[in-house]
C-alpha cells in the first residue's frame, strides 16, 4: 500500500465502505419521513414531519430505547474495565493459571447465543432471582468481557515495555505509571473494545430475551412489533440517534483540530 495509485484508491475505497455501511440507514432515514396509511412502513406514501411529533407520545417505543441505551452504556463501562484488566494480566505477566484463564475468556465467544442465554435463565430460576434490567445487565457484561479482552490484546501484543520501565523510574508508583504511560498507549485499543461492546449490547436480542423477565428492551420491542408492522416512529428514533452521534462527532472533530494545533505530530506509538 502507499504508492501513487493507492493515494486515491484508499479514500475512495473507504468512502465505498461507508456507503455500504450506511445504505440501509439511508433508507431508514428516508422512511422516517414517510406517511404510511397502513400498519407497515415499507411503501413510500408521501412526505410528513408528523412522525417526529407523534414519536414523543410513544413511551412504548422511547421507553425500551432509553433502557437499551442505559444498559449498553453501563455494560460497556463495566465490561471494558474488567476486560482491559484481564487483557493486561494475560499479556504482561506470566503466572500459573494463564492457560485456564485464556480458555475461560475464549469459550464464551464460541457458545451459541441460545445456549448462553438459556443457561443463564436456568441460573436465575434456580436462584429464585427475578429477571429485569439488572439481570440483563449482568448478561451483557458477561458476553462483552471476552470481546473486550480479544480486542485489547490486539493492542497489547508486542507491546514495548521499555517505555513503561522508563516510566517506573520516573514515577514513584505503579498507578501513576499506568495513568501516564500505559493507559495512553493502549487507549485506542480500549476505545475500539468499548465501541464493540456497546454495539453488541445495544443490538442483542437472544441473550436478552432469557434474562428480561417483564422488561422490554429496544431490540425485543422492534422484533415483536414486526409481526404487525414497524411504525415509522421507530425510524424517527433511529434517525435521531444518528443525528446526535453526528453532532457529537462534529464537536469531537472540532475539538480534535484545536488540540491537534497545540501538539503537532508527536510520535507516540511504539512498535516491537
Amino acid at each position: 500500500m502507499g504508492g501513487r495509485i493507492s493515494r486515491a484508491t484508499l479514500p475512495i475505497f473507504t468512502a465505498l465502505v461507508v456507503i455500504f455501511l450506511f445504505a440501509p440507514i439511508a433508507v431508514m432515514i428516508v422512511f422516517s419521513f414517510n406517511d404510511p396509511a397502513g400498519r407497515q412502513n415499507i411503501t413510500w406514501q408521501g412526505f410528513t414531519l408528523q412522525n417526529y411529533i407523534t414519536v414523543w407520545s410513544r413511551p412504548d417505543i422511547t421507553g425500551p430505547l432509553l433502557l437499551s441505551f442505559t444498559i449498553a452504556i453501563i455494560s460497556t463501562i463495566v465490561a471494558t474495565t474488567l476486560g482491559t484488566m484481564m487483557g493486561l494480566a494475560l499479556t504482561r505477566y506470566d503466572f500459573r493459571g494463564e492457560r485456564a484463564s485464556n480458555l475461560l475468556i475464549f469459550i464464551p465467544t464460541t457458545a451459541p447465543e441460545i445456549i448462553l442465554g438459556a443457561s443463564l435463565l436456568t441460573l436465575w430460576v434456580s436462584l429464585g432471582q427475578e429477571r429485569g434490567a439488572p439481570t440483563i445487565l449482568i448478561a451483557h457484561i458477561m458476553f462483552n468481557i471476552s470481546f473486550v479482552v480479544v480486542t485489547v490484546r490486539a493492542r497489547l501484543a508486542g507491546f514495548n515495555r521499555s517505555l513503561e520501565e522508563a516510566g517506573q523510574d520516573l514515577y514513584a508508583d505503579g498507578w501513576t505509571t499506568f495513568r501516564k504511560v500505559t493507559f495512553p498507549l493502549i487507549f485506542p485499543g480500549i476505545l475500539a473494545a468499548a465501541l464493540l461492546a456497546f454495539a453488541l449490547s445495544i443490538d442483542d436480542y437472544v441473550i436478552t430475551l432469557f434474562s428480561a423477565g417483564r422488561t422490554v428492551t429496544f431490540p425485543l420491542w422492534v422484533y415483536g412489533v414486526s409481526r404487525l408492522g414497524i411504525p415509522p416512529e421507530v425510524n424517527v428514533l433511529g434517525t435521531l440517534i444518528f443525528l446526535i452521534a453526528f453532532i457529537f462527532l462534529g464537536i469531537q472533530a472540532w475539538a480534535g483540530r484545536r488540540a491537534g494545533r497545540r501538539r503537532e505530530g508527536p510520535v507516540t506509538m511504539v512498535g516491537r
Partner: protein, 286 residues
Amino acid sequence: MTTDRRRWVPYALLAPGAIWLVLFFALPMAFMLLVSLQQGSLSQGYELTWNFAIYPEVLGQYWELMLRSVVFAFLTTLITLLIGYPMAYTIAFRGGRFKNALLLIVVMPFFVSFVIRTLNWKMILADNGLLFGTLKDLGLLDPSFQFLATPASVIFGMTYNFLPFMILPLYVALEKIDRRLIEAATDLYASRVQAFWRITFVLSLPGVIAGSLLTFIPAVGDFINADIIGGGNRDVIMIGNVIQFQFFTANDYPTAAALGFILIIGVMALVIAYTRAVGAEKLTEG
C-alpha cells in the same frame, strides 16, 4: 516494585472479570452440559440419564449443516478481512483527527436494531428493488436475477453485520505501528508493496487474528441472517437455525444443548489449529 509484590498483580487484575465469567458463564454452562445428557419431555420433565449417545447421534444427523456453517463463516471472514483491512488501514494511517469519528461511524449502523437494518437492506436488495430493479430496468441484469434467499445473500448479510468485529481489532493493531518503521522499510525494500507485506502486515497480524476470530466464531453459530436475509431457504439454513428450532420449537433442550457443545468444541478446535498455524497460540492456550 519487588518481584514478590508483583506476583499477585496479575491475579488481582484477572479476578473481577474471571469471577464474573465463572459465575455467569462457566457455572450455568456446566449446568447446560448436564442438560445435554438428560432425556425426557416437557410434560414428564427431563431427567439426567448420562445419555452420552446423544452426541454422536446429533453429530451424525447434522454434520452437513455444521460443515455448511463453517464454510459460510469462513467465506464471511475472508470477505470482511478484504473489506475491513483497507478500511482499518485508512482510518489508522490517514484518519488524522477524524480517527475516532470514523471508528464511531463503523459501529453506528448497529445502534439501530438488527430488524430495521435488515428490513431496509431487503428493500434495497429485493428482486425488483432499488438496486437490482434499477439494473434490470437498464437491461444490465437478467430479469430473473435473484439475490435474496441465496447462499450469497446470507454471506452478504453476515459480512455486513460482522464488519465492525473485523475493522475495530484491525485498527487497534495497525494504529500502534510506528510509522518510522514503515519509512525505514520503504528505504530498505525496493517497493512500497514489499514494505507493506514485510512490515505493516506482519505487525498488524495480532489484529488480523483477533478480527478473524471475532468474525468467524459468531458467524458459525449465526442463525438470524439465514432466517431473515436468507428467508430460511433450504440451501441456506445453518446449524444455528437447527439449535433455534430444537430449543424454541421442539423444546428438545438436550438436543439443542448437545448441538451447542459440539459447536463450542468444534470451533475451539478450529481456533486452536488456526492460532497455532499463525503462531499466536498464546491467545487461546496461554
